[in-house]
Amino acid sequence: MNINTTKVISLLFFIFSAFYLYTAYQIQVFAFDENAPFNARTFPIYLGYAGLFFSGLKLILPDPNTIKVNHKTLEYKKTLILIVIAIIYGATILKVGYFLTTSLFLFSSYYFLGERRWVLMFLLSFPFVAAFMYLLHGVLDIYLRDPFLQSIGVMG
């Protein structure tokens, strides 16, 4: 059976809009605002209906320009690895610090994308991040939290 993915996305959006609309009706407003011409839930309610309307139309109307994606040609493995590395990077950046985590993130991303020129990989990670940190922290005065560099006394 051929499943039209655009219709599936539209259906998901329809369900999402219904949930959004339900949540919009649950927004607690002040008692004196309850019958006001406009309160905190008015605009979201309109948005919920708009979402139902457009996704409903997309579901009902025929879709002659269906986009067909050949999933066999897509590079899921590398994309997933990059996403996982990015999540790990996000999870450790505050605790470990900007310099070390960013450098390791870049180095491992180059590696998993198939790069094996070690010197270039190194230059475009550790020294590159150090230079970028200097630009942000030293030149532009943008604060960068880095417990690792602070612990070894490099950063004040």
């Binding site: 905190a40 708009a50 040609t73 996403i83 993130f105």
Partner: protein, 497 residues
Amino acid sequence: MIEGILIGLTTALTLQNILMVMVGCFFGTIIGMLPGLGPMTAIALMIPITYGFDPATGLILMAGVYYGAVFGGSTSSILLNAPGVPGTVATSFDGYPMAQQGKAGKALAIAAWSSFAGGTLSAIYLLFMAPSLSKVSLSFRSPDYFALMILGLTAIAAFSSKGQFLKAMMMVVLGLMLASVGQDSLSDITRFTFNNMNLTDGISFVLVVMATFAMSEALTIILKRNDPTSAAKQVSLTALGSIKINKEERLKMYKTIPRSSIIGFLIGVLPGAGATIASFLAYGMERNVVNDEEKEKFGKGSVNGLSAPETANNAACSGSFVPMLTLGIPGSGTTAVMLGALLGFGVQPGPRLYMTNPEIFWSIIMSMYIGMVILLILNLPLIPYIARILAVPKNYLIPLILFFSITGIYVMSFNNFDIYLMIGIAVVATFMRLYDFPMPPLILAFVLGGLMEENLRRSLLLSNGSWEFLWGRPLTLIILLLTLSIVCWQLFKSLKK
């Protein structure tokens, strides 16, 4: 106005700002040459850098990136028939055949001079039009603004959707929904936060831009196994030949440039239209006005056919600043990103901008002239060298884009949750991109969401909850009828198919 020009020149001609225009143009040219990475990504990646500057400098940098990207997009269009940005697709119609005839250098020179002239003329139109329009727009009331925002969102959905209007409208609604997360601006009641403290202040604009453009474009490149840098590698190997333009060709350009710049500017001013439509319209118009002999050359390396879209797409870039600077309503996804950045600086664009922050208003306009000169110097002699810089493998390019995106969020909030949220939105956006759901309408809607709700609130309160405000003022009614005609036309097209 003279005083304003002087203020603008004083601000734009500081060493720091000239440097920023140069950096912006250079970076924009580089990104513009890479098919798949557009000006919105380039500007989004620049946002963290602008945190360290004042608003005028930050915006000058972003404006430089914008027209640099459009300028750079023409290079890969001409040399490789692979437009770096949609606005330069029409450039390839005559630019690429010219390059195949061994006149690549000449084609680049025609494109560069046309872009320079288009951008400069358009900046002059902007100089005269923006202050007058600002004065006119002071008479706009909340219902007019509300209607204008609906028009802007509908127009961008109609123009950016490539025949998929309903998908684009779904993205508009999604953008507005994302903007509604967090505290209500008037009552401070929290909405859609699900008791998560991280969402109380709403979702950051930078986060959404980074996720839906920079990060999602990077993931899409990997997912689809594209290699945007291969274009640059080929450019760096192409023999350009002479860049001289002879007298006959110059005469043709003298006629084409003024009319194409007017078309480009006017299309740029319209909400949602932008460089792509401007370049196609200018190309079509040029083909109709030239003589039969010249008409025959269109598509085979015509000077007019190359000059017209290049003039128009750069003119449209300047034109798109008009609604943003005068009404506070961006006309395109790219200016929406800039508007969001301005709001982040605490500056409210709108009709009063040129009174409250004249240095920002005028310095952007003045920096455009400087930017055009810099682009001319950059694009002609330096293209092969820029291309060589670009010839880095995508294995390096993609992690660097991800790194810039995550850094942008990190320095803004120092919060893990924001990074996870950005990755989550980027994954969803990447999946939706596969099925041609356009992202610019989402960004524009996200930026306009708060303003739209505010203007609807005022309109409804003033009319005691009645929807009569929609037809109470002729201006509101005209704008809404225009919106309705766009919706009906698009739905009719969908049903006809």
